[in-house]
Amino acid sequence: MYQGIAGALLMSVGFNSAPSALAERVQSGLMDVGALLQRVNEGDQSAWDDIVERFGGLVWSVARGYRLGALTDDVVQTVWLRLAEHSNRIRNPDKLASWLATTTRNEALRVSKKQAKSISLSEYPDASDSSVSGLDELVTDDDTLGHVLRAFTQLPEKDQELMRLLCTVPPLDYATIAEMLGRSIGSIGPSRDRSLKKLRKLLPAGLDDQAQRQRKDTAE
C-alpha cells in the first residue's frame, strides 16, 4: 500500500483535508444540500455542522488565496456568520458553493485594501504567512503531492489564483470563477489550459507513474 506523507497527513487532520473522501460522499449524493439547508433553516445545528464540513475547505482555500495572514480567520468567520443569517435566502442550493466563494472574496478584498494602506502589495511579507512555511515543509518530501505543490508555488501569482479556484471541493462553476477574477467566462477555459501547461513544465519527469500508483491505491 502506498503511504506517503500525503496519506499520513490526510489521515491525521481528519475531514478538513480529506477531499477525496468528501468528494465521494458528494458524488454519491448522500448529502443533499437543499435538504441540509432546509434543516438549517429549521434550526438544526447538526445540519449546519454538515454544511461546514462539506464547504469549510472551499471557504478556507479561497480565503487563503488572498494572503491575508492572521486576518484569514476573521474573514472566514465573517463568511460563516453571514451564511447563518442568509441561509434561508439561498433559493438554489446548487449555488451555495458560489455564494460562499464570492462572499469570501468580497470580505477578503475589503480587508486586503485596508492592509494595502500600511504595506504596499509588493512589500507584503510572504515569509510571515504561515501557509508558506507549511508548504515548504511538505515539498521537501519526495512524493506526488509535494511535487505538484512545489510546482504550483513556482507559478506566477495570476496562475496560482486561477488554479486555486479550479481545484476546490466542491468545484466552482466557470461563471463564478470568472466573476471572482473579474474576467469573461470565455477566458477561463483557455487560461486553464495555459496554466496547466505551465504547471506541467515545472513537474519532474516520471511523476506520472507515481501519480497513477497513488490514485490506484486511493481508489482501493
Binding site: V13, A84, L149
Partner: protein
C-alpha cells in the same frame, strides 16, 4: 493532452492534475481546527426574528484608484425605515462613530463575539464605540423594552 511538453506528465489528465493539486493544497494547508470550531459556532449567533439591516454601501468596495488612502472607511446598513451609517475615524485606535437615520434616542449595542457593549444614542442618533478586538462585529438597535428592533449584518472593520 499530448506528452510533448518537456518534463510533462503524459499519463495525468488535466482533471487528474487539478484534483491532485486540490489534494496537495488541502493536505499542506487545511482549515485549522479552531477555524472549523468557529464556523460551527457561527450558527448559535443566528437570530432570524430580528430585522436584518443589510450592508448597502462600503467605501472599501470602491475602486482603489478612486479612493484616497486618507479617507476613513464608511459603511451604510439599511433596513425598512432605518439606516445606520458608520465610520472608522482612526485606524490606530479603531474608533467607530455612527448615526441612526432618521435620528432617534435609542439603545444600541456593539456585538463582538461574546463581548457586548451598550450605549444610548444622543438626540441626533449618534453613537461611538471603540473596536477593542479584531474580528467580525454587528450593531443592534434595541426597543424600549430591550427587544431587538434591527440588527446589522456582521462586518469586519
Amino acid at each position: 493532452m499530448n506528452s510533448s511538453a518537456p518534463g510533462g506528465v503524459p499519463d495525468m489528465t488535466d482533471d487528474d492534475l487539478l484534483a491532485t493539486l486540490g489534494q496537495a493544497l488541502a493536505a499542506a494547508d487545511p482549515m485549522p481546527d479552531h477555524v472549523a470550531a468557529g464556523a460551527r459556532a457561527a450558527f448559535t449567533w443566528r437570530t432570524i426574528d430580528a430585522e436584518l439591516a443589510e450592508l448597502v454601501f462600503d467605501s472599501a468596495n470602491e475602486l482603489a484608484g478612486v479612493r484616497s488612502e486618507d479617507v476613513n472607511r464608511q459603511v451604510t446598513f439599511q433596513a425598512p425605515g432605518v439606516e445606520i451609517e458608520v465610520m472608522v475615524i482612526d485606524d490606530s485606535t479603531r474608533r467607530l462613530v455612527g448615526q441612526l437615520i432618521p435620528p432617534a434616542e435609542m439603545d444600541v449595542e456593539l456585538v463582538a463575539g461574546d463581548v457586548v457593549t451598550s450605549q444610548r444614542t444622543d438626540h441626533l442618533g449618534r453613537f461611538t464605540f471603540d473596536l477593542a478586538e479584531p474580528g467580525p462585529v454587528r450593531l443592534v438597535v434595541l426597543g424600549a423594552d430591550g427587544e431587538i428592533l434591527v440588527q446589522t449584518e456582521w462586518v469586519l472593520f
